[in-house]
C-alpha cells in the first residue's frame, strides 16, 4: 500500500503553485490534506508523477467576515471549520457538515478546498455548498475567475478546474434568519454517506418562501433537488412531506454494496423531509 514514485514540490505561494502546474503539465497534482488523493494513489487508482504540496500555504487557511458573506480559504481544514465561531454563528450548515466528515483524525488533515476540488458526489461539504449557492474563487495562468457551486461540478470526480488552476477561496452567504440542516445517513461509524441531504429554508409570514436542497451521493455529482425546491416555494410548512416526495426527481443514484438505487431514492425523499422540517425548526 504505497504510491507509485513521484516527484515532490512545495508551493511557496498560489502563484508558485500555478507556475509549477504549468511546468509539469497534466501529470502533476496538487496535494492539500491528502485524504482523498493519497488513498487513491496507494490503491494505484491515481499515479501523478509530480505532487505539488499546498501544505505550507498557511495564508489560505482562514474564515473571514466580509459583510453579507463569509470567505473561507481553500486550505482551511475540516476541523477548523467545525470549531470556527463565526461560521457556527453565521453559517452553521458549513461548520456542522464539516463535523460529520470521516473521523477527527481525517478532519485534522482534510481541507475544504480538497473536498470541493476532488468533486466526489459522496462527499458531504459539496452538497451543503450547493444548497448555500456558494461561489468558488479559482486562479490560474489566465487570471482569476469566480464559479458558482452550481456550475462547478461536471461529472464523476470532474470539475471545471483547468489543469493549471488552484481553488483559493469559498464564499458562503450569511444565513441570517434562514433555517438549515444536514442529514447524513450511514450504517456504520466513520462511513461515507449512503445519502446526505443539505437544506437551507427561508420563511416569511409562516410559510416557506424558498428552500434549497443539496443531495449527496445521488448521482455522479452533488445535485440540487430542483423539483422539491419548486414544490416547497410558497408552501405551507404542513405540506413539507408531500413537497419533498419529489426530492429524487432528476437524480441517477448508483446501486452498490451500501444500497440499491431504489433505496437511495427513498432515502433522498425521507431525508429531504427531515432536513426541511429541521431547518424550519431552527
Amino acid at each position: 500500500m504505497i504510491p507509485l514514485a513521484f516527484d515532490y514540490e512545495v508551493a511557496e505561494s498560489v502563484d508558485h503553485a500555478i507556475e509549477l502546474l504549468g511546468q509539469h503539465g497534466e501529470e502533476a497534482k496538487l496535494l492539500a490534506g491528502g485524504h482523498s488523493l493519497l488513498p487513491i494513489m496507494k490503491l494505484r487508482l491515481a499515479a501523478p508523477t509530480v505532487l505539488i504540496d499546498l501544505g505550507r500555504l498557511s495564508d489560505l487557511s482562514y474564515v473571514r467576515d466580509e459583510g453579507d458573506h463569509l470567505a473561507i480559504g481553500a486550505m482551511t481544514r475540516q476541523c477548523d471549520l467545525e470549531r470556527d465561531q463565526t461560521l457556527q454563528e453565521q453559517c452553521g450548515l458549513v461548520a456542522y457538515t464539516a463535523s460529520l466528515v470521516g473521523d477527527p483524525s481525517v478532519r485534522h488533515r482534510g481541507t475544504i478546498g480538497g473536498s470541493v476540488s476532488h468533486g466526489d458526489a459522496a462527499s458531504d461539504l459539496p452538497s451543503a455548498l450547493l444548497a448555500l449557492d456558494a461561489t468558488f474563487t479559482v486562479r490560474g495562468s489566465n487570471g482569476e475567475r469566480t464559479v458558482a457551486a452550481g456550475d462547478f461540478f461536471q461529472d464523476y470526480l470532474q470539475t471545471v478546474l483547468e489543469p493549471d488552476e488552484v481553488l483559493t477561496e469559498i464564499r458562503v452567504p450569511k444565513l441570517n434568519g434562514a433555517g438549515w440542516s444536514y442529514k447524513k445517513f450511514n450504517r456504520r461509524a466513520q462511513d461515507w454517506a449512503v445519502v446526505g441531504v443539505a437544506a437551507v429554508v427561508e420563511r416569511s409570514n409562516g410559510s416557506i418562501s424558498s428552500a434549497r436542497i443539496g443531495l449527496t451521493n445521488m448521482g455522479s455529482t452533488p445535485l440540487r433537488a430542483t423539483a422539491a425546491e419548486s414544490a416547497l416555494a410558497g408552501a405551507d410548512p404542513s405540506s413539507v412531506a408531500e413537497a419533498t416526495g419529489s426530492a429524487d426527481e432528476g437524480t441517477s443514484p448508483s446501486s452498490d454494496i451500501a444500497a440499491s438505487a431504489e433505496y437511495r431514492r427513498h432515502l433522498a425523499r425521507v431525508l429531504s423531509r427531515r432536513a426541511v422540517e429541521e431547518a424550519l425548526s431552527r
Binding site: 500500500m1 516527484d7 515532490y8 493519497l38 488513498p39 476541523c79 473521523d103 477527527p104 483524525s105 466513520q190
Partner: protein
C-alpha cells in the same frame, strides 16, 4: 530523495527520504518506533495514529515529506520521566485493551480527543474515537478508560474538600 527534518518524541531527526514514503513507515522502519502499529493501511483502523503538531492523524495517510519541519509524537514519547501518561495508566486500570494491537493508536486518539473536548460526554467519546477500530474489547472499557482520565483530571482541578 528529499531531505527532511522533524522532531519525533522530542528529538530532532534528519533523513533523506523518497517522497512516497509514508510517515508510518518512516517512524517504524527508519526510526525504529515499533509502537506505531500498521493495521489496515487504508485510513480506516487508526492503529497508526500519532500526533502531528499535537493533533491526531493517521500516519499511513501522511507522507513523511508532509511532516517536514513539524513535530510528531508517538506513543513512545508520551511517558513523563519514566511515568506512564495518565491515558496509559487509565487504559491499564480500566482494562481498556486485550490483544493491544489497537492500543497505541487508541491512546493517541484519546489524548487528542480530550485535549479538544476535555468534558466530552460518553457519546462524544464514542464519536471522537470512531476512526479507531478495536476487534477485541467491544469498546466499553476503552470508553471507561477515557472517562477515568476525565475524572482524575477533574479531581486535580478541584482539590478535595
Amino acid at each position: 530523495m528529499r531531505r527532511i527534518q522533524m522532531t519525533v518524541d522530542g528529538r530532532a531527526h534528519v533523513a533523506e527520504v523518497e517522497p512516497r514514503l509514508l510517515l508510518l513507515h518512516h517512524l517504524r522502519e527508519n526510526l525504529g518506533i515499533g509502537g506505531v502499529h500498521a493495521g489496515c493501511n487504508t485510513t480506516s483502523c487508526g492503529a497508526c495514529t500519532v500526533h502531528l503538531d499535537g493533533e491526531s492523524v493517521k500516519s499511513c495517510t501522511v507522507l513523511a515529506v508532509q511532516a517536514d519541519g513539524h513535530e510528531v509524537t508517538t506513543v513512545r514519547g508520551i511517558m513523563d520521566n519514566g511515568l506512564w501518561h495518565p491515558m496509559q495508566q487509565a487504559f491499564h486500570e480500566a482494562h481498556g485493551l486485550q490483544c493491544g494491537y489497537c492500543t497505541p493508536g487508541m491512546i493517541m486518539a484519546s489524548i487528542s480527543l480530550l485535549k479538544e473536548k476535555p468534558n466530552a460526554t460518553e457519546q462524544e467519546i464514542r464519536e471522537g474515537l470512531e476512526g479507531n477500530l478495536c476487534r477485541c474489547t467491544g469498546y466499553e472499557n476503552i470508553v471507561k478508560a477515557v472517562q477515568l482520565v476525565q475524572q482524575h483530571s477533574n479531581g486535580q482541578a478541584q482539590p478535595a474538600s
